[in-house]
């Protein structure tokens, strides 16, 4: 009886563990501190852009980039390469619009980034 239970446990435990691991993206992309709060940093960038505080937006962008890098490391096992690339490209576009001090496009990129991050790993 116990041998049968152990045998099935050997089969079931790794499969369940893998299923959990491959679905952990939604949990792992949530902030675990202040440095990896992607949506929080994006919100800060948005506020800086609205106030036309371009120096603040630049700092916010750097923090967002660092946060995205941290989160990407955690969720990369199950992540789609295309989604990660889209996120990286959109971040680069946002940086360009902040440097060019273009309010409208910067807000547009912030909005796209929020949407991409929301959909990441879903």
């Amino acid at each position: 009886m116990w041998a049968k239970v152990v045998k099935w446990a050997v089969y079931i435990v790794p499969i369940v563990a893998f299923a959990v691991l491959l679905n952990a993206g939604q949990v792992l992309k949530r902030p675990m501190g202040t440095q990896d709060d992607v949506l929080g940093h994006l919100h800060a960038v948005e506020q800086s852009v609205l106030a036309e505080d371009w120096a603040g937006a630049g700092t916010g962008w750097e923090r967002t980039q660092a946060a995205v890098d941290r989160v990407a490391r955690r969720i990369q096992i199950d992540a789609e390469k295309g989604e990660m690339q889209d996120l990286a490209e959109e971040l680069a576009r946002l940086r360009g619009t902040i440097q060019a001090q273009e309010r409208g496009p910067a807000l547009e990129h912030v909005s796209v980034l929020k949407s991409l991050f929301h959909e990441l790993g879903r």
Binding site: Y11, P14, I15, F18, I77, D78, E80, K81
Partner: protein, 241 residues
């Protein structure tokens, strides 16, 4: 995204998953698989491969696909055990290709089987003359079962009314130097008996023994790590060439 690292992790996941799923699916030999089993196996293997290296989609859908295919294959196996109709659908049916010495061309055409295939598979069964065959059946796994006409079948002790000594499966008593206590108990023997038997054969320790099997005739077959293969005589003339 560190692709090498991700491939390594996903590789471990798909390897262990495949190992578990193939164990659950059973121990059918590759040569005994039906065409349906074979295709199912290929699809499951392909899904495991894409789970490892396909980054265009998430790993989770591939994992679900792998699980679904294994689950369905398992269900199909169980249903086939209960329903002959389903077993025929998934595994096909054996087809008689030769009956009473006559080749059934209609049946051969039905399973798209050529005369060359038939002759080749007969040769594999050591049949070089079709006239020797009473019946031949193409099994669902693609092998050909052949019944030779009685006059071409080898003579057995039964035909000659001879009595033979019983010969069954032997019992392994030593494996790689270790005495298998459970097996020894099964055949109602002791370690002392085993030691005595080994001493008779000039073996002082079980550690010298790679394999020892007790036959149903009571004889102990012993293979040592130290192989004593007699020298093969070589012709001097051959060496001089």
């Amino acid at each position: 995204m560190n692709l090498g690292w991700v491939v390594a992790i996903r590789g471990v996941i798909s390897f262990i998953t495949l190992l578990v799923f193939t164990n659950i699916l059973g121990k059918q030999q590759v040569g005994k698989l039906t065409f349906f089993d074979f295709i199912t196996g290929i699809t499951i293997g392909d899904l495991a491969a894409t789970l490892t290296v396909d980054f265009d989609s998430r790993a989770w859908p591939h994992f679900v696909g792998l699980t679904i295919w294994t689950g369905l294959a398992l269900i199909a196996q169980y249903v086939a055990l209960k329903s002959r109709w389903w077993a025929r659908i998934t595994g096909g049916e054996p087809v008689i290709l030769i009956q009473s010495g006559h080749i059934l061309e209609k049946n051969m055409a039905q399973c798209r089987y050529r005369f060359d295939d038939l002759l080749m598979q007969l040769r594999e069964k050591n049949v070089f003359d079709v006239q020797e065959v009473e019946a031949a059946v193409l099994e669902t796994n693609g092998t050909l079962s052949v019944l030779k006409r009685s006059q071409f079948q080898p003579v057995t002790p039964n035909d000659l009314h001879l009595t033979t000594q019983y010969k069954g499966l032997g019992t392994m008593l030593i494996h790689e130097g270790n005495v298998l206590g459970g097996e020894l108990k099964q055949v109602h023997l002791t370690k002392e008996w085993l030691a005595d038997e080994l001493h008779i054969q000039g073996i002082m320790s079980t550690k010298e023994v790679a394999l020892a099997i007790l036959g149903t005739d009571g004889k102990l077959f012993v293979d040592l790590y130290r192989d004593q293969v007699p020298d093969i005589p070589v012709d001097d003339q051959l060496l001089s060439h």
